[in-house]
């Protein structure tokens, strides 16, 4: 250890920071101008790495590594161009979550495409020619290539900075970052500005991926890892700020470096392994920064949009009328008779139970997203806390199931009290990212601490016993919970609270000016949503007999988002519709299809293009047709 060890770790941290910055820079620029949270950005990074690998492999000479970087970057840029022209361009006017979902679908497709083209085995590329070895720094062998990266990061920053400050194109980019509407008012062709931004972002990401080849293998997990780190860096730095992203990359990398240097920290009788902490370090940094600097290190409060929110007719809601109630009754009867059909359709009750639980999960998230206007990216945290709380009651202490449901709700609500309190201080993407950070922290705690709730293995032996122990009895219990939850959420939507929440979403400043405590309203909505998610989680645990940390994972949160957006975030029943369709699709194509991700991605994109306001707009469409006829 010692001080010289720290110096070398910090040098190492700078090399890591450069890598992080390369991924984040493109994302930051793209977001700044287009306001698209681009999930597919990690895919560009991954494509860059794979293409760079293939270039060297094809030409057989390691020297091809250097031109390979440019070739890889160009390849990524071309993919970016294609994605922008064929998909994103069609949906710039759609709600921001629709865009996010579209890029998520692109990520799924690219994942399978890469698997198809390059196979499943991680591919370790060559070392960088000329920089294979190490140099002696303070008596240690420091990789020469890391030194190169330390220089490459700031160079990239300088190049991008020059591009946005010294060129006419760059001035437009900066203008668009500050005020998109102004640029279009000036008669600039926005479409091409967006395309060029997107291509540049993909180019930089591809270059970043190619530059990783000497340090890590090209693998199928690269995209997900890259995108998570990139989000953190961009948000910590302040959305749209390049220098901010650079500083954030250094901050995140150096906190990790110092953790590695300290190793085991002894505070009194406690020995804390800081190396274990590296699993969440990014998210802890992000949470801390967002709590103290809500718009990131170098971000500024986003300019108030002319109309606080892009209000669309889809946001108008009214209580169900006769038709709606009839439909609801039909659905209910369908749910109720399913177990009676077990003889002919033995799998139906099993799938239906899953659907019921996911409907509750999605609908509770919809309360936050639709009426609340808060895009929570961490809703799985409440689902998971509910599941764990219930699992502890039944699995550890053998207490009755009824209590487990109550405690499940309690566990989720306690989580929401804490996490929601911090989250509602932010809005928009920052809120989304803070909720994601909190959920990841909760996940990491459950995942790595064996002593707490079984670590990665979770808690087993969580079966319903007693009155609701039977298969059908439990199914009807779930239907009961569903009805109560939906009735509760529906009633809430049209209660004074629901009106106030929507008012706060439509215009927070106006709501405050007529006496509403907007933060408290939103905080309260977190508690309500969490309670329903908690009961869903409890039922899930009881239906599977066990819980493990994956139910808290980011991918479950994102699936929740997908369901809500697919169904229509503002429409009554949107969450329900989305959940039914999503679970069914995922189950049907996910069985055996080797490339189910790509299939799911293609279907999602198709639905988004055809029904940008969600599946529920299909019902609305028939309604308006009817009105037109009358």
């Amino acid at each position: 250890m010692g001080f010289s060890g720290l110096i070398v770790q910090i040098l190492n941290g700078f090399a890591e920071a450069s890598s992080l910055f390369m991924i984040a820079a493109g994302l930051s620029i793209i977001f700044g101008v287009t306001r698209i949270v681009n999930f597919a950005h990690g895919s560009f990074f991954m494509i860059g790495a794979y293409v760079a690998y293939t270039v060297v492999e094809r030409f057989g000479d390691p020297m091809w590594f250097w031109p390979g970087i440019i070739i890889a970057a160009v390849a990524s840029a071309l993919v970016g161009l294609m994605v922008e022209l064929t998909l994103l361009r069609r949906i710039y006017r759609a709600p921001e979550l629709t865009q996010l979902l579209a890029t998520y679908a692109v990520m799924l497709i690219v994942q399978d495409l890469v698997l198809y083209l390059w196979g499943p085995v991680p591919l370790l590329g060559p070392r960088a020619p000329g920089l294979e070895g190490a140099v002696n720094i303070l008596g240690r062998q420091f990789p020469t290539y890391s030194l190169f990266l330390i220089v490459a990061g700031p160079l990239t920053l300088a190049a991008l900075w020059a591009l946005v400050t010294r060129t006419r194109w760059g001035r437009l980019v900066r203008a668009a970052t500050q005020d998109r509407e102004m640029v279009s008012a000036l008669g600039i062709n926005q479409a091409w500005l967006f395309t060029s931004i997107f291509v540049l972002g993909a180019f930089v990401a591809g270059m970043g991926g190619a530059l990783q080849i000497p340090r890590e293998p090209a693998s199928l997990e690269m995209d997900v890892h890259a995108i998570t780190s990139a989000f953190v860096v961009v948000v910590v730095g302040g959305l749209g700020s390049l220098p901010g992203a650079f500083i954030a990359a250094i901050l995140v990398a150096q906190v990790k470096a110092v953790c590695l240097w300290i190793g085991i920290l002894e505070i009194g009788p406690f020995a804390i392994s800081l190396s274990k902490f590296t699993i969440v370090v990014e998210f802890v940094v992000m949470a801390v920064v967002l709590i103290f600097r809500p718009y990131g290190l170098m971000g500024t409060r986003p300019a108030l949009l002319r109309h606080t929110r892009n209000l669309t007719s889809s946001m108008l809601i009214a209580p169900l009328r006769a038709r709606g109630w009839i439909l609801a009754a039909i659905i209910l009867v369908a749910f109720a008779i399913v177990p009676q059909l077990r003889g002919s359709f033995p799998y139906m009750p099993i799938l239906m139970l899953e659907i019921i639980i996911m409907v509750m999960f999605a609908t509770s998230l919809q309360l936050l997203m639709g009426p609340g206007g808060m895009h929570s990216f961490g809703h799985a945290a409440y689902f998971g806390l509910g599941a764990y709380a219930a699992a502890a009651i039944v699995g550890y202490w053998n207490l009755p199931l009824e209590l487990a449901l109550v405690v499940g709700v309690g566990g989720a609500v306690v989580g929401a009290i804490v996490l929601g309190w911090f989250s509602v201080r932010l809005s928009g993407v920052y809120l989304a990212m803070l909720t994601l950070a909190f959920a990841q922290i909760v996940w990491a705690v459950f995942y790595q601490f064996e002593g707490l709730a079984g670590g990665e293995n979770g808690i087993t032996g969580v079966w319903p016993e007693g009155l609701f122990g039977g298969r059908d009895a439990f199914y009807y219990l779930a239907v009961g919970c569903l009805i109560v939850s939906l009735a509760f959420l529906y009633r809430t939507l049209f209660s004074p609270f629901g009106y106030a929440l929507r008012a706060a979403r439509d215009s927070a400043i106006r709501a405050e000016s007529i006496g509403m405590d907007v933060s408290r309203l939103q905080w309260q909505s977190f508690l309500l949503a969490a309670s329903v998610a908690g009961i869903a989680g409890a039922l899930y645990a009881l239906s599977k007999g066990s819980v493990s940390p994956e139910i808290l994972s980011a991918s479950r949160s994102i699936e929740g988002l997908v369901m809500v957006v697919l169904g229509g975030e503002y429409a009554i029943g949107g969450g329900m519709l989305g959940a039914v369709v999503f679970v069914w699709l995922r189950d049907t194509i996910g069985y055996n299809a080797e490339y189910w991700r790509a299939v799911l991605g293609v279907i999602t994109i198709f639905l988004l293009l055809v029904l940008p306001q969600g599946l529920a707009s299909l019902l609305r469409f028939t309604e308006s047709l009817k009105r037109a006829k009358e």
């Binding site: 109309h307 606080t308 929110r309 209000l311 007719s313 946001m315 108008l316 809601i317 209580p319 509760f488 009633r491 809430t492 049209f494 209660s495 004074p496 609270f497 629901g498 009106y499 106030a500 929507r502 008012a503 979403r505 439509d506 215009s507 400043i509 106006r510 709501a511 405050e512 000016s513 007529i514 006496g515 509403m516 405590d517 408290r520 309203l521 309260q524 309500l528 503002y570």
Partner: protein
């Protein structure tokens, strides 16, 4: 009776003095206009009074209660209503729902999850809409309403908790001259009917001189004149600071 007292209020933003030692008072039943050229510090003072911004020095009292340090929502509860320069209605709701939400807030019912909100104080809400002549548009989503109608809707919302003081930030901005006069005439009528007081900022001088009882003039963050329209009109200092030289209010008002 004095309703609102502004005393020695000062505010700086990073060394730039937006308000300096401003004092004036507003009496019950009075329509007081706050005017001044761009950058005079009107908006800052306005935001200090409604709680959006905190003053560095001085105090603002409403019926004897100190307002500085209070949140906008707390100030509203004391009986200070407010309208915005750019109207921010709740776009996903109908006109009547906009009013109903304000009534729910007035009755401290916004944390009620169970009561059916659709028919909450419906008659009262309709009554408020009637006062601003919007009864026929009650069920119209306010996203689809004309701007002038939205402005009137704002008034109805602001009246929901029977305020004693109404703060109006450039009430007629963005409106055609005909509409302006209608809106201000309506405001004046409501003031007389309810005995409320109004403090408003305004750019359009015809409105100011036609409807205000008294005028406070700011320039470069300081109060330079105060008095009846006639007094202010005659004030040489105002004329100089406000318009340079020569121009009269009438011509400016008519030109705009």
């Amino acid at each position: 009776m004095t309703l609102l007292t502004v005393q020695n209020v000062g505010k700086s933003f990073g060394g730039v003095r937006a308000n300096h030692d401003i004092s004036f008072a507003l009496k019950s039943g009075e329509l007081l206009a706050l005017i001044g050229p761009n950058g005079a510090g009107k908006s800052t003072l306005f935001n200090i009074i409604n709680g959006q911004t905190n003053a560095d020095t001085g105090s603002v009292r409403f019926e004897g209660t100190e307002l500085s340090g209070l949140q906008p929502r707390q100030i509203w509860r004391l009986g200070v209503g407010r309208t915005f320069q750019v109207a921010f209605p709740f776009g996903s709701m109908t006109a009547i729902e906009n009013v109903q939400v304000a009534l729910m807030s007035r009755d401290r019912k916004i944390f009620n999850f169970w009561r059916w909100g659709r028919n909450y104080c419906r008659d009262e809400a309709l009554g408020l809409l009637q006062r601003v002549a919007l009864t026929d548009q009650a069920e119209k989503p306010c996203n689809y309403m004309a701007y002038g109608d939205v402005k009137r809707l704002e008034l109805a919302v602001a009246l929901a908790n029977k305020p004693r003081l109404l703060l109006m930030d450039e009430p007629t901005a963005g409106m055609a001259p005909q509409e302006r006069n209608e809106l201000m005439a309506l405001t004046k009528r409501l003031v007389l009917e309810d005995g409320l007081s109004v403090l408003f900022t305004e750019h359009s001088m015809d409105v100011v001189f036609a409807y205000s009882d008294r005028i406070v003039v700011l320039a470069r963050g300081e109060l330079i004149a105060e008095g009846s329209p006639a007094e202010v009109r005659a004030n040489a200092k105002v004329q100089e600071v406000y318009f340079g030289t020569g121009n009269t209010f009438e011509t400016e008002g008519q030109a705009s």
